[in-house]
């Protein structure tokens, strides 16, 4: 009873804070914060599955979120016809080689007996596929990148509704997670951490440098939206009628309305993931996962396949992170590979989970809200703090300028300190895990 009251209290405070921002600053800002809070909560739920349920340390959250973002772009952007006519053949050949390599590798994996020879055979196939791909596909990429490089210079996407990308982005992230987990799970726990760190750096490097696919650092902007555009709303009769009835200005209200639509979509996903996670955690499966986390040796003595369960939960968590990554790119309306920073996408999510309460889904959601809120509001606070601290110095003082310019780096230090402090003084988080016997 007391715990549920505490939950309600924390969430009420959080809602109050967002309303306060709406009143004090602007409703537009409050809703942007709310939207990112919702996405962060979904991502934190994914990491909570890995860390909270199973004790797996994933340092590559950034990579899985980026895969979701990539999928959002690939699904929603219309295909670039000129690029397909100029280089369609080469692109199909490349895709064919890629798929063929994948199929042969998977067949070998399933058919051959499990030993070093199988691994070697798969590796040979993959290397051969890579070399063929380089030989046949490299000239094609140059052709694609030459087609109108200022506006496109890439193949585009499938031109499908962007909502489809959310589950697909999750699937892509889950597939990569399976590959990484298959190799590193079952070995020391640190290996998973190091391997995920590596794969996430590689994924972001691919996004940054494969211009034919993602336009690289030129970014893909103007992804189609799942919700109406402000301009269209302002010309729609029912919307104008609504504004008149509410007595608001259509221009301001249209942007609030769009953000509300997003918030509705994200809330549906969040509630769905939360409901499923809660169901899973309370099921026999959830009890088994906790048993494995708390004592691997006795769980395996009870006949549980620890490595397989770890792989399962690692993939599931990555799927959720991928979905959140696709949602984020949808909200941004653009794919900006250089925006994927480990601090923002890996570390911040970790802080959310640990501060919120690892192992408790509601805790992860609360962590997502609280930490994102302070992440956004920390910048004005930090600037203000630096301003006050340096107020005594002359305006042209070199130290003052240096401090003001470096205020942005304070975020790194602050978040690091929050994590260390939470780990030491409140390792169970704001909403600790409940275990009912």
């Amino acid at each position: 009873m007391i715990t549920s009251l505490r939950n309600i209290f924390y969430f009420a405070v959080m809602a109050g804070l967002i309303v306060l921002v709406g009143q004090m600053q602007s409703w537009n800002l409050a809703l942007s914060i709310l939207n990112l809070c919702l996405i962060s909560s979904v991502m934190a739920l994914g990491v909570n599955m890995q860390w909270g349920y199973a004790g797996l340390f994933n340092v590559g959250v950034m990579g899985f979120a980026a895969l979701g973002g990539l999928m959002a772009m690939l699904v929603s952007m219309p295909p670039v016809q000129e690029a397909w006519t100029a280089a369609g053949g080469g692109a199909w050949v490349g895709m064919g080689i890629f798929l063929l390599t994948l199929i042969i590798a998977i067949t070998l994996y399933r058919k051959l007996p499990k030993n070093g020879l199988r691994t070697a055979a798969i590796m040979l196939v993959v290397i051969a596929g890579y070399v063929l791909l380089r030989i046949y596909f490299d000239p094609t990429t140059k052709v694609i990148e030459k087609v109108n490089p200022a506006a496109s210079g890439y193949l585009g996407g499938l031109g499908l509704p962007i909502i489809l990308a959310w589950p697909l982005g999750g699937l892509l992230a889950g597939g990569v997670a399976w590959f990484v987990g298959k190799i590193t799970l079952g070995l020391r726990s640190d290996y998973l951490a190091i391997a995920t760190l590596g794969i996430s750096e590689i994924i972001v490097a691919v996004l940054k440098h494969e211009d034919w696919m993602t336009r690289g650092v030129k970014n893909v902007t103007g992804l189609p939206r799942p919700v109406p555009y402000e301009v269209n709303l302002q010309n729609t009769q029912w919307f104008l009628d609504l504004c008149e009835r509410l007595g608001t200005d259509p221009v301001t209200f249209s942007s609030i309305f769009v953000k509300l639509c997003y918030a509705g979509l994200f809330a549906v996903v969040l509630l769905l993931v939360l409901w499923l996670s809660e169901r899973a955690l309370r099921s026999p499966w959830g009890r088994m996962m906790r048993a494995i986390r708390d004592n691997e040796v006795s769980a395996s003595a009870m006949g549980k396949d620890v490595t397989a369960r770890h792989l399962q939960v690692f993939v599931l968590g990555s799927v959720v992170v991928g979905i959140a990554g696709a949602m984020l790119t949808t909200l941004d309306g653009q794919l900006t590979p250089s925006s994927y920073q480990p601090l923002r996408f890996t570390f911040l999510i970790w802080v959310m989970v640990i501060v919120g309460g690892s192992g408790n889904n509601w805790g992860a959601v609360l962590g997502g809200f609280v930490i994102w809120f302070f992440w956004i509001e920390a910048e004005p606070l930090g600037l203000w703090l630096m301003d006050v601290l340096t107020a005594g110095m002359a305006d042209d003082s070199a130290l003052r300028t240096h401090l003001l310019e470096s205020a942005a780096h304070m975020r790194l230090i602050t978040m690091g300190l929050i994590l260390l402090l939470a780990l030491r003084f409140n390792p169970r988080g704001l909403l600790p895990e409940r275990t009912q016997q």
Binding site: R188, I202, L412, L420
Partner: protein, 337 residues
């Protein structure tokens, strides 16, 4: 006739010499990781940023010495500043151990808690470095740049390809040899070193025989800080100092330590060279080399580069995966499974 010689010179200039220097830097970094792993039993994610921190202190001292007019003649001033960098970095790392890790050690926390704590330390250090020196490139190398320039080599030998050796590269190798010799002497011959190895092999037995764990841990941190600062400074002299690059060095360093076998110092050195040589051979464009080697008028039409340099850390990742698949304990049988 001199084509094969030219090809060899080309390869030496662009692959072998840089790989030896880079390998030495990685080996020093991996030694620090492996020491921490052997004694404290966790993978220290803050090591890359410890390198950045130590290097930053060294750079600040270098600038100060330069403004005082101190210099080592042909050698870079940074060598003079290095001991100060090591001292400050060691103090800072000991402070981190005191306020962060000691608490978890007393509780005998899970290794993964230490790893998370080290990620926290990593971000604090990263933030400090960016706060103090900024996120941009800093070039602090001075003194002579080359021992032998490509042009001089060409005149000397009459080949059309030259080999150039930078001062920073030779300093790297010489320093690496001295540091590794000193480290092995310390670990094998001194009383403290022996107690460290005993502690690493069997903690309980070591405690029973009266080894002071606090002392062992403190010495380990000081050694790790020294190795990190030396590795970071050498890397910065050879290339340039940029905080983000040091964060990215974490992956090849971990890969070196794991490839050699975590907890095994000889393995760390071997692993460093394995990673460095593979990274550079895979990302080198062999076009010119092939043109020398292949007889007749055949000319390579592509760059003949296996992997673009943008993906150079993918090489360490792939080697890491291969080692984990075939020999999870590393080449030299570390203590990890």
């Amino acid at each position: 006739m001199s084509d094969p010689l030219n090809a060899a010179a080309l390869l030496a200039n662009f692959v072998i010499v840089p790989a030896i220097a880079y390998g030495s830097q990685l080996a020093l970094g991996a030694l620090g990781v492996t020491l921490i792993y052997g004694i404290l039993r966790f993978s220290n994610f803050a090591h890359g940023d410890t390198m950045a921190f130590g290097t930053m202190i060294t750079i600040l001292f270098t600038w100060w010495f330069q403004s005082l007019g101190l210099s080592l003649g042909p050698l870079p001033t940074a060598l003079l500043a290095l001991p100060f960098g090591i001292a400050v970095c060691a103090l800072f790392v000991l402070f981190c151990d005191r306020v962060v890790y000691r608490f978890h050690r007393a509780k005998r926390a899970d290794p993964v808690i230490f790893v998370i704590a080290s990620v926290g330390v990593m971000f604090v250090m990263n933030g400090l470095v960016r706060f103090i020196i900024g996120p941009d490139d800093q070039n602090f190398a001075d003194g002579e740049r080359f021992i032998i320039k490509a042009r001089e080599f060409k005149q000397l030998t009459g080949l059309s390809e030259g080999i150039s050796i930078k001062v920073s590269q030779s300093i790297t190798v010489v320093t690496m040899i001295i540091v590794v010799a000193a480290l092995f002497w310390f670990l094998n011959k001194t009383r403290t070193g022996k107690s460290m190895r005993a502690y690493s092999d069997n903690e309980d037995l070591a405690l029973l025989s009266g080894i002071n764990p606090d002392r062992v841990v403190a010495v380990t941190w000081i050694l790790a800080a020294a190795l990190a600062t030396i590795a970071g400074t050498l890397y910065g002299l050879d290339k340039s100092f940029k905080p983000f690059t040091y964060f990215q060095l974490l992956l090849p360093i971990f890969a070196s330590a794991i490839v050699g076998g975590l907890g095994n110092p000889i393995g760390a050195i071997a692993g460093g060279f394995v990673i460095a040589f593979s990274e550079i051979t895979v990302t080198y464009a062999y076009k010119k080399f092939a043109n020398y080697i292949v007889p007749g008028d055949w000319k390579a039409d592509g760059l003949m580069q296996l992997l673009s340099t943008n993906y150079k850390f993918a090489v360490s990742f792939l080697i890491l995966l291969m080692v984990l698949l075939f020999r999870p304990t590393g080449i030299f049988r570390g203590k990890s499974v």
